[in-house]
């Protein structure tokens, strides 16, 4: 990693062009364009959002207004709709991610044990990941349709109840979860499968010679060795789920009532439907803070672990 590409000075003098510069300057020059993009277009807007969060900004009454201190923060913390959207988000994340992890890992084992056809199986599994949630999600409304939908048609054929998938207060969030599980379980399965296939063979052969039970092999060998990969998938899925917007926007628009209104969707509604930019910006700052803490404590150690292993190997 730290080893640089500089050539010993004695050789460099004869070899390099007159514009020769140090490694340090060269390396800094290379990152300037990307850093500029990120600083200007990611950090400046955030600074702007931070500024708005301390002001009165009701766009229906004109421009961004006066400094109001922490009023917006107080208001958001006392806003029951905000907390309810946090609740919906947590419920969605917990259920969807758990289902995706469990099913995904199970599917990975299922495919890993298959003797033939792995290539075609993998190709088919990738498909949902290529599609946009906004487009396929919209089409899922047709599948969920109470009158013309295929799902209820099949349920009816086997004599099961035919629920109102998107209109029923108790079911709507589950319908959004089911769609998310459809789209993202293959993601978990693919990565878990890659992890399984990268495991070294020797420990498993040794365990077999010792006559260890399948359960014991799973518990003492497979899962401990898979843990880093699985944990990475878990963190990536969680971060994505907390930000859920597209599926809600096309499937339920937060309804019925607000039972599927996630944090992102409530933030969008507050800022761009009710035009309370001040409250919305405050929520954005809360949200951002939570994500930064999460990625600092969960994602960073993980990725560092992976990249150091890669550069050793």
């Amino acid at each position: 990693m730290s080893q640089s590409l500089s050539v010993p000075a004695s050789q460099e003098r004869g070899a390099a062009s007159p514009t020769a510069m140090s490694d340090r300057w060269f390396s800094i020059l290379l990152i300037v364009p990307a850093m500029l993009v990120i600083l200007v277009f990611a950090l400046l807007p955030l600074a702007y959002a931070l500024d708005v969060s301390f002001r009165f900004a009701d766009l229906t009454r004109g421009r961004i207004g006066d400094f109001v201190g922490l009023d917006n923060y107080r208001a958001v913390l006392h806003d029951r709709a905000f907390w309810s959207s946090v609740g919906v988000t947590l419920k969605f994340t917990l259920t969807a991610v758990t289902l995706e992890m469990v099913l995904g890992i199970a599917i990975a084992f299922l495919i890993h044990g298959a003797t033939a056809g792995k290539g075609i199986i993998r190709s088919l599994m990738i498909l949902p990941l290529a599609t946009s949630a906004a487009v396929t999600g919209l089409f899922w409304r047709y599948l969920y349709d109470t009158q013309f939908g295929l799902i209820n048609h099949f349920l009816g054929l086997v004599g099961l109840p035919e629920p109102n998938w998107l209109g029923d207060y108790t079911i709507a969030l589950w319908s959004v979860i089911l769609f998310d599980v459809w789209q993202w379980t293959p993601f978990v399965a693919l990565i878990a499968l890659a992890g399984l296939q990268a495991l070294p063979k020797e420990p498993f052969e040794a365990a077999e010679l010792d006559g260890a039970s399948t359960f014991r092999v799973l518990r003492t060998l497979t899962f401990p060795m898979l843990k880093p990969v699985l944990f990475l998938v878990l963190v990536l899925r969680t971060i994505d789920s907390v930000r859920l917007y597209d599926a809600v926007a096309v499937l339920t628009r937060g309804g019925p009532g607000t039972v599927t209104e996630t944090m992102t969707f409530y933030l969008y509604r507050t800022g761009l439907k009710l035009f309370r930019m001040d409250y919305a910006s405050t929520m954005a700052i809360f949200f951002l803070y939570a994500m930064l803490v999460a990625s600092l404590f969960a994602l960073r150690p993980l990725l560092t672990q992976f990249s150091s292993r890669a550069s050793e190997g």
Partner: protein, 286 residues
């Protein structure tokens, strides 16, 4: 895992389950494509009809009446432009991170944390800023502002750059340093080494990163939905235009959705060797 003799019944069960899982995964997409070829009188019927005479009328409706190719054209322009910027600036930065370890890992992680930003957090400032910039002469000259392509090009560049840098770093790390060393000893400048030795070797990785960026931009919805109205709208927003007062026109929706999803399906299938690596920011090399 264990190389045990597995009976025929066990194998049959395994493949039965696999077929079931694949059915669940593929079915919604397949049904969407099937619906796109259904005549109108076979779509809004109960029970759903599985046999019908295929027709192209939904495609005709989507393309001629709803002008769906307009959205395709917008999306293509916006995603390609943003992908080019991402790949060029991203490759330079990633090479620097992979070889010179600028910022000792901290900078690289800072870049990743911007990827973790919830897009919605920057959307409000983007909305306000682009609204103001759009009113100025510079804004209209550069095509930046609400409902202008520049706004989305910028958004997609910012949001894909961190991902691209991480993935590219993993590809650059795979290139053996010895080649660069010997090229340097042969008298090539650092820039020439990068252009003539490293880039050709990294080309597959750069291409993979580019395709990922293209797919993400193509499928993006939130920015497109909020920052555009009509003139600069992309496919994901365009599909929404099929909502009418009479309800959703499912046939044309399916046709439009198929048109917009198909190119990405092809890309993803072509790239499947790199899917795992791409989806984990280069961490799992699959």
């Amino acid at each position: 895992m264990l190389q045990r003799e597995s009976s025929f019944a066990k194998e049959a069960l395994r493949y039965g389950l696999i077929v079931l899982v694949l059915g669940f995964i593929v079915f919604p997409i397949a049904w969407m494509i099937i619906t796109s070829f259904k005549p109108a009188d076979a779509i809004m019927v109960s029970p759903p009809r599985f046999l019908f005479t295929p027709t192209l009328e939904n495609y005709v409706h989507a393309i001629y009446d709803k002008n769906f190719l307009f959205y395709i054209k917008n999306t293509l322009f916006i995603s390609v432009a943003s992908t080019i910027i991402v790949v060029v600036t991203g490759s330079l930065a990633a090479y620097s991170f992979a070889r010179y370890n600028v910022g000792d890992g901290h900078l690289l992680f800072f870049i990743l944390s911007t990827k973790m930003f919830p897009a919605i957090a920057v959307i409000l400032p983007y909305f306000l800023i682009f609204r103001e910039v759009g009113k100025t002469g510079i804004g209209s000259f550069l095509g930046i502002g609400l409902d202008r392509p520049g706004a989305l090009i910028i958004s997609y560049t910012v949001f894909n750059l961190p991902f691209a840098i991480w993935l590219l770093v993993s590809f650059f790390q795979d290139i053996p340093r010895e080649l660069e060393h010997s090229a340097r000893l042969d008298g090539l400048s650092r820039l020439k080494v990068l252009a003539k030795v490293v880039c050709p070797l990294a080309a597959p990785g750069i291409a993979v990163t580019g395709v990922f960026t293209l797919i993400f931009s193509w499928n993006e919805f939130l920015f497109a939905y909020i920052l555009t109205r009509k003139a600069a709208s992309t496919v994901t927003v365009g599909v929404e235009s099929f909502f009418t007062l009479q309800g959703i026109l499912w046939g044309p929706v399916a046709a439009a959705a198929t048109i917009s999803v198909l190119p990405m399906l092809v890309f993803v299938l072509a790239m499947q060797r790199y899917m795992v690596r791409g989806l984990t920011f280069g961490a799992v090399r699959g």
